[in-house]
Symmetry: D2
Subunit: 386 residues, 4 copies
C-alpha cells in the first residue's frame, strides 16, 4: 500500500487473534440537534451502538456561559441513542461520554466525533490507537478546583491508562476530561456543612475545575512535580501545565469523567494518535510536527487524499494573558463585543485548517493549565495503515 510507514513499535501479538480496536468516525451536523449522521453510522452498520464509548461534539454556540447548543446536542443525542440502545435518555449518559464543545468561529465546521471500541482481528502492525475511560468519585463542592480534584483526577487517569493497556505515559497523547462546576446551590450546600469553596464566582469555578483537572493529568503523566502543586497554584501558575490535557466543565455532573487516548501494542486497527504543544496561537510548526509524527511527509497543506486520512484534530485555544503573540498586540482580551475565547478559537482554527486543508476540526477554548499561556495541546488521530 502507498501510505507512508508510521513510526511504531513491532507487533507482539499473533496475527488474527482478537484484539481491541478503537474506531473514530467524524460526521457533520447541520445544526446542534442534527444527529442524523451519527445515527446513520449505526443504521449503516459502520458501528454497533453498543460499541460507542464517547461522542465529542463541536457545536455552533458561543462556547461561553449562555451556550445552549451543547445542551441541545446532548438532548438530541440522548433521545436518539436511547431508542437505539433500548434504554432511557438518562441511562445513555452513564454509558457513553458525551463531550460537547461550543464555538465554531472563523471557518470551523460543526461536527461530531464518534469513538467506539470493538474486538477485531489482530494485525502485525505495531501500536494502534487505544482508548480507556475512568471516573473519579463524585466531588463535594469544596473539593472542586482544589488539590482533592487534582489528585482524584491523577488517580483516575492511571486507571483509564490501565484499561487502555497504556503503561508508558509517553504513549498517552490526549486526555479528555469532563468536569463539574460550582453553582449557587452547591456553594450553599457546602456552606451549610461548614465548608468554604474555591470561588463564589460560578463562572470562575469552570476555569478552576478545568485547571485542577489538567494539573491532575499533568501529575499522572509526570509533566509536573507533585511538590509544585497547591490549591493556590491552580489557576495562577501558568508555567505548570499538561501538554496532553483537554478539559471542559459541565453543570450536569459532579465527578470527573476521563477518556485517555494513546497508542498501544495491545490494540489493533489502522488508526494512531500523536500530539505536540502549540507555543502560541500561530504555531503551525507544532501541527506540522504532529503530522510528521504520523507519517505525513508533505511540507505544505495536506492535499485532499491525505487530508482525508486525518480523522480528527483536537486543539485547545486561548488568548495569551499578556495581550501579545510573538511580541505583536492582539485585541482579544480588550474586545467587549466578542469574547476572547471566540477570537482564540477562530485563530487556531485558521492555523489548523491551513495545515489540514479542512475545517471540521475540534478546536476548543478554556485552556487553563492545558499547554502554555496563549498556546495549547494539539492532537491528531489519523489513519496510518490501510
Amino acid at each position: 500500500m502507498g501510505l507512508p510507514r508510521w513510526k511504531g513499535g513491532a507487533p507482539f501479538f499473533h496475527p488474527g487473534s482478537p484484539m481491541p480496536e478503537c474506531l473514530v468516525f467524524r460526521v457533520p451536523a447541520q445544526h446542534p440537534a442534527d444527529v442524523s449522521e451519527v445515527m446513520g453510522l449505526v443504521a449503516s452498520g459502520a458501528v454497533d451502538v453498543t460499541e460507542i464509548v464517547a461522542i465529542f461534539g463541536k457545536t455552533e454556540g458561543n462556547g461561553c456561559v449562555n451556550d445552549f447548543t451543547r445542551q441541545l446536542a446532548v438532548m438530541a443525542l440522548e433521545t436518539a441513542l436511547a431508542t437505539a440502545l433500548g434504554c432511557t435518555a438518562a441511562e445513555v449518559g452513564a454509558r457513553i461520554a458525551l463531550v460537547m464543545s461550543g464555538g465554531t468561529e472563523g471557518g470551523l465546521s460543526p461536527h461530531f466525533l464518534v469513538l467506539a471500541r470493538r474486538d477485531s482481528p489482530a494485525v502485525p502492525e505495531g501500536k494502534a490507537l487505544a482508548i480507556g475511560t475512568a471516573f473519579t468519585q463524585e466531588f463535594r463542592a469544596e473539593e472542586i478546583g482544589r488539590m482533592a480534584q487534582v489528585e482524584a483526577t491523577a488517580a483516575a487517569v492511571g486507571r483509564a491508562m490501565a484499561e487502555a493497556g497504556l503503561t508508558d505515559p509517553a504513549d498517552v497523547h490526549l486526555v479528555q476530561v469532563k468536569c463539574p462546576l460550582l453553582t449557587s446551590a452547591r456553594i450553599a450546600e457546602a456552606a451549610a456543612r461548614g465548608h468554604g469553596v474555591a470561588t463564589h464566582d460560578t463562572y470562575a469555578s469552570m476555569g478552576l475545575s478545568r485547571g485542577a483537572s489538567a494539573l491532575g493529568i499533568a501529575l499522572a503523566l509526570g509533566e509536573v512535580d507533585r511538590e509544585h502543586l497547591t490549591d493556590s497554584a491552580i489557576g495562577t501558575r501558568r508555567d505548570l501545565f499538561s501538554g496532553r490535557a483537554s478539559c471542559s466543565a459541565g453543570i450536569e455532573l459532579m465527578r470527573n469523567e476521563i477518556i485517555v487516548l494513546g497508542n498501544s501494542q495491545g490494540w489493533t486497527g489502522p488508526l494512531a494518535i500523536a500530539h505536540r504543544v502549540m507555543d502560541d496561537g500561530i504555531d503551525l510548526p507544532a501541527i506540522r510536527g504532529v503530522l510528521t509524527d504520523l507519517g505525513f511527509l508533505e511540507a505544505g497543506q495536506l492535499p485532499p487524499h491525505e487530508s482525508e486520512r486525518v480523522i480528527a484534530l483536537l486543539a485547545k485555544a486561548e488568548p495569551s494573558h499578556d495581550g501579545l503573540i510573538r511580541g505583536r498586540r492582539h485585541i482579544m482580551n480588550d474586545d467587549s463585543d466578542i469574547n476572547a475565547t471566540r477570537h482564540a478559537r477562530a485563530l487556531v482554527g485558521g492555523v489548523a485548517a491551513a495545515a489540514i486543508g479542512r475545517t471540521d476540526l475540534f478546536v476548543s477554548g478554556g485552556a487553563e493549565h492545558q499547554g502554555p499561556d496563549g498556546g495549547g495541546p494539539v492532537a491528531v488521530i489519523a489513519r496510518v495503515r490501510d
Copy 2:
C-alpha cells in the same frame, strides 16, 4: 548577500542615476489614535513627511457600519501630519491617501503601513516595487455602483499605471481603491435632479461601490470582458472579478482614489510585490505561491528572519455565499451575534499568520468582485534584495 534571487528582469538603467523608489514601513498601533510610531518614522528621518503617498491602517473596530475606529485613526493621522506638513488637517487628505480598514479579529494585530516615494540611486537589480496614484472625477450619486463608476475606475487605473511606469498589466499586483457610498442626502439630491440610484439601502451601496470599483480594475487589467459588464452584473455576477483589487468604501469622498502597486524596471529599491488569488478562506497554497514568487523557498511557516523580510501581506476575506468551505458547512452567514465578515477576517488572518509567522497582516473584508466567492486576492510586499 544571502537572500534568494528574486525572479525579475534585467536592469536597463545606468547604475547610480536617480530613480524613483517606493518605500513601505509597517508600524504597530497601541490603539486606533496611536500614530506615535508613524510620526516616529518622520522624526527619525526614516521617511520625509513629504515623501508619504499613502497610509493604510488596520484598526480594531468591527469593520462594519458603526466602526468609528477608522474615523478616529484618520483624525489622529490628519492632526499629526498637518503639523508635520504645515498644512491644515483637511489638506492632509488631499495629499496623502488614508485608507483605514477596520477589524482585527482572531489574532490580527493593529498596525499602519506607510507608503512613500523618493528618488534614489538606481541599482542594477531588475524590477522593483512601483507605486502610482490617480483619481476619477467626482461621481454623481446615480453613477455609484453602476457602469459609470466601472469605466471611470478603469480609466483611472490606466493613469495610475502610467504614473508608476507600468505598461504590462501582468506587472500590476495590487490596486487599492477608496470609493464613495450613498447617503440619504445624496440619494435625495439625485432624486431632486430626476435620477434614481442603484440602491436605496445605504449599507448595500457600499458593496455596490466596492464591486463596481473592482470590476473597473478587472476591466483595466484585462481580467474580464467588457461585454459581460452591465449595471445588473454588479453585485450579482460572482464569476466576474479581479484577482488584484482591494476596495473599501468611505463616506468622506465622492470620487474613487486609486493606488496601483506593481513591479517596474523603472523603479529601484529592495522591495517587490507579488500576488495570487485565494480560492477559498483556507487557501494556504495560494499564499505559499506568492511567497515562492518572491523567493521564499521554505515550505513551512517562515522563520523569524524570513518573516521580517515580508513587509506587508494584504488579503481580502469574505464568507462564501453557499455556506461551505470545501464542502463543509461554516456558520458565518447564520451568526446573528458576530457579523460574517468578522468571522472571515479571523479565518484568513489565521491562515496567513500560519504562513508568515506574524500577525500584523492587512486582512480586510468586503470582497465583492475581488476574487472568487469565498476567496480573495492576496498580495505580499517583501524585501527581495539587500
Copy 3:
C-alpha cells in the same frame, strides 16, 4: 369583590350551566430547557395536560437566525408532555401549539405562558377570555410570502374566530400565528416544479411569511382593504398592518397555525384581554390604555397586587426604518454588534416593565405589518374578576 368592574356586556347564559373557560398560566424558566414549572402545573392539578391548547415561550437566545434556545425549549416541552400525554414527542406538536420567541434583552425574564381550555360553570359576569385555533392547508414554497398565504390565513382566522365563538372582529384582541419559511431545499423543490418563490434569501423569507400572515389577519379583521393587498405590497407597504397580529416563523412547519384570543359572552372565567397599538417603541400611553380598558385605574406603575392581576403582556417590537423615535436618532439599525431587533425588544421591554412593574413580559421581534413602522400591537390578559 374589590376588583374594578371591567367593561363587558351582560351575560346571556344561565348561571351554573357549563361553559368553556380559557385559562392562562405564567411560569418562570431557569434555562430554555427548564420545563419543570410547566409540568408542575400538571402535577399540581392546576391544569390537566389534555386541556392545554398552546404554550408560548420567551427564551433567552438572540431571537435571530442562530437562536437554538427555541428548538431546545420545544424539545424539552415535547419530551415532557409526551410522557404526560402518553404519546410520542412528534404527536405533541400536533395537539399543542408550541410558539417560542427568542430574546430577553434588557431586563426581560424568560418564562412560559400555558393556555388551556376547560368546561366550567358559567357565571353571570359578561364577556370572558376566549380562545380558538385553526390551521391553513400546507403551503407550497411558491405560496409563502405571497397573496396565497394572505388569503389562506384570513380564512383560517375566520374559522378560529368561529371556534372561539367570536363573531365581531372588535372582540378579537390578539391573533398569534406560527408560519413557515423558505429553505434552500424548498426553493429547489418549487423550481423543479417550474415555480419561482418570493425570495431566494431564506432569512428574508421569514419576514415575508410573517408579513403575509399579518396581512391575512388584517384582512380577516377588516383592518385593511382587500384592494390594497398584492404580492408586491407584502414587506413594502408599511402603512398596511394589523393592530392585533403577532407572527413568528419557524422551519418545522409548512402551514400557518392560528390562535385567536378575544372576549366572548359564550365563555366564562375571571380573565379578559384587551389591546392597543403602540405608535413607537416608547408609547407608554398605549400600554396604559390597555390597562385602563381592563379596569386598572392607577396612573403610574402598577403596585404589586395589581401587577399580579396581569397574567400576560404580549407586545411586538421593531426598530423604525427611518432611524428615529419621535425625531431623535436611535442607533439600532447601524449597530453591527447587536442586532436591531435585540435593541428593540430591550427598549419595549423597559417601557412595558415601567407600566406593569414586572419583567416576565412577552415582547417579541419581527413585526412586519404588525403595527406601524417602529411600533406594534400590545395585548394584555388580566384577571378582571375574582
Copy 4:
C-alpha cells in the same frame, strides 16, 4: 406664567442685581465626532465659548473596554473648541470637563449636554440650578481604588459645593466625577517605588476607582458613616452607596475631577435639579418622584410640551448581582454575547423614556457604590420657571 410652581425657598437677593446662572443645553449628535450642534450653540450666541464649564456626551459605542467613540468625541470637541477658544487642544481639557459615556442601547439617542455658567440678572424666584467644580491632587497609582481616593474626593466635593454656594448637602442632587484608572505602566511605576496597588486587573481598576469616588461623595454628603469605610469595603460593601454619585473612569487623567450640581438661593435662572434613587432597573416611581419634585404633576408619560421642559435626565444603570429584578430572573450576567452593562442601559433607558417621552437621556453604566445593587441614582434638570 403657566408653569407649575416649583418647590423652592424664597428669594433673598435684590431683583436685578447680577447673579450666577447655570445654563444647560442638550444637542443631538449624528455620530461620535459630530460636534456641529455644540459649536452651533457658540455660533448662534446661545452660549459664549468661555462660559462653558463642562460637556457631557452620550456616545454610541459599547461603553466597555474597547469603546473608542468616547475618545473620538473628545478629540472632535477639543479640536473644535480649541479653535473657538484660541488655545491648543490640550488646553481645552484643562478648561472644560469633557465627560463621555458610551452606550446608547435600546432606544437611547446620542447627544451632548453643554453646561455653562454666566452672570445674569437675579430674579425673585427662589433656588436655581448651581454648579461647582473642583479637582483632587494627582493620585499615585497605589492610592487609586483605596481610602486615599475616597478622602481626597470627599474633600474636593466640599470645595466644589463651596464654589457653587451649596452649604446644605440636601441641596446637592448630582455629583459627577471623572476619575483615573490603573494601567500596566502605572502599576509598574508604583512597584518600582515599592508600592502595591489595589488590583493588577486594569479593567477592575476602573470599577474600584469609580467605587472609591462614589464613596467619597457619599462621605461628603453624609450618606455613609466614616467608620464603615475601609479599603476592603470598596467594591464589596454594596450596602454603602451615594444616591447622588455618577462616576466614570478614564485613562487620560490621574486626578478626580468633580462637578457638583444642586439648587441654591445664590443662583438665578429658570433651571432646577432634583434626584431620587432607583431601587432597581424598573423603578419608574423613583423617576416620577423626581418629576413631581420639579413640579411635573401629570401621572403618566410627559406630554411633548412638558417633556421639552426636561433639559436632562441622568441615570446610572447596572445589573443586579443576584440575577433578579423583583424576584424574576434576568439574563444580563450570563450573556456572553452582550455585556451586562449594555442590557442594563437599555432597560433603564426604556423605563426613563416611558416617563419622559423622549430618548435623548443620559443613562450610563458602571454604578459601583452609586445607588443600591441593581439600582442607581436618577437626576433631572428641568426648566421650572419661564
